[in-house]
Amino acid sequence: MKNIFMAFVVLTVCLLAYSTYQGLFVAPTEQTMGEVQRIFYYHVPSAWTAGVCFFVNFLASLLYLWKRNPASDALAAASAEVGVMFCTIVLITGPIWARPVWGIWWTWDARLTTTLVLWLIYVSYLVLRRFAAGGQTQVLAAALAIFGFVDVPIVYMSIRWFRTQHPSPVMGGGENSGLDPAMLHAFFWNLLSFTCVGIVLMVIRYRLQKAEEQVEAAHAAVALQGGSR
């Protein structure tokens, strides 16, 4: 198992190197936006990976409430943390791109706002995990995870309506409408490599979580025996 994981890590590093090369050097420069468009190869794959992480978090939380096994709780904790990290990358790379292209750092557009609210929800999930006491943490966190996941479509729907009443910023005719095949090539390689990075980080974080729990259990066992060595 360990060897398979190590091989996967090596493969991920190679993929990341290749896709970075594709995104930065091979893919053609966009005509109107220029070099800054290349952030697209990091922005969208990060958003995708964050979405995958939050979905894993939801499934793991459901599984925990059903089976009550520590493994799925550890997976929920790991995926939420990695997801928040990728979501942060999305929220940072977005404005860097938007400033030269749209002329503004931020706008309360549906997708932007939903991502921000998603980020807020999962940060609050991590805060709850940090502050909850003892053995209740898992159940409380799993409950909140389900609330958060249910909230996301409602947020998206409400913000979309909120914004369709107002003139929306230059959004149409973006990358999605007719992407150059060479760009598409670079994009898919980056999508694949970022997904692999997400999986690698989740597995590492998952192992760390399990190790932390074992250390805590050992401490508790020592305390129970009255040994204050």
């Binding site: 609210v117 807020l120 609050s124 805060v127 502050f131 209740q136 409950a143 249910v150 909230d151």
Partner: protein, 224 residues
């Protein structure tokens, strides 16, 4: 015991205790009053402006005030291990949750009824749209805040630093509801747009989250 009778008994007990002590309603009222006065100083709006910003001001004030009451929801039941006694009793857990949520709903609605005249006086508010729609928005919006708030208060009571925890987990989830309340109120007050979508949206939010709360409450109550 049936769900209905348990709910009624718990609700009446909470209302009686609140009627005698008036802890929650007094602190909420004073808090909301402070928010109104401070906002009034901070923005100093004309009648025309205040119609545009009142939706936001009113609901932010009520949201903050509601957190004061929500934080006290379960604190009383922790003393003398009432919550543990409830857990081992055969009474349905959702009855307890519904009673607590309804109690908070009544407190916040009373608060809103008492505070609205003050808002009208301080901000010189006059609604262009029909006032009964504001009542619908207020009832749906209050339930949206209170049903999740009661549930999250049950979560945060088990954490360290309880009082801080509740707004931290309640506000992110409540963002769509708050957006709907504020926009519906503003569209009614200014009479410029139809609040229909927002009212439907609040109804959907209420139904979805009431269902999720009822599904998960037993799990959270029994969390060890």
């Amino acid at each position: 015991m049936s769900t209905f009778s348990t709910t009624r008994a718990t609700l009446l007990k909470d209302l009686r205790m609140e009627w005698r002590s008036k802890d929650a309603i007094n602190s909420m009222l004073f808090f909301a009053l402070l928010v109104v006065v401070i906002f009034s100083f901070a923005f100093n709006p004309t009648a025309e402006e205040s119609r545009r910003i009142a939706g936001g001001l009113v609901w932010v004030a009520f949201l903050f005030a509601a957190v004061v009451a929500l934080n006290q929801t379960w604190a009383r039941e922790l003393r003398n291990q009432v919550l543990d006694a409830y857990r081992v009793s055969p009474a349905p857990p959702n009855a307890l949750f519904l009673a607590k949520a309804l109690g908070n709903f009544l407190f916040v609605v009373v608060l809103e009824a008492l505070m609205t005249p003050l808002f009208v006086v301080f901000y010189d508010l006059r609604s262009v749209g029909p006032v009964w729609q504001l009542v619908v928005v207020a009832l749906l919006g209050t339930w949206a805040l209170v049903v999740n708030g009661t549930f999250f208060a049950a979560l945060s009571i088990r954490t360290r630093s309880r009082e801080i925890m509740l707004p931290l987990i309640l506000f992110p989830i409540s963002i769509p509801a708050l957006l709907a309340m504020v926009d519906a109120t503003t569209s009614i007050l200014t009479g410029e747009a139809s609040p229909d979508f927002w009212i439907k949206m609040l109804a959907v939010y209420d139904v979805v989250f009431t269902a999720v709360c009822l599904l998960l409450f037993e799990t959270v109550l029994n969390a060890e």
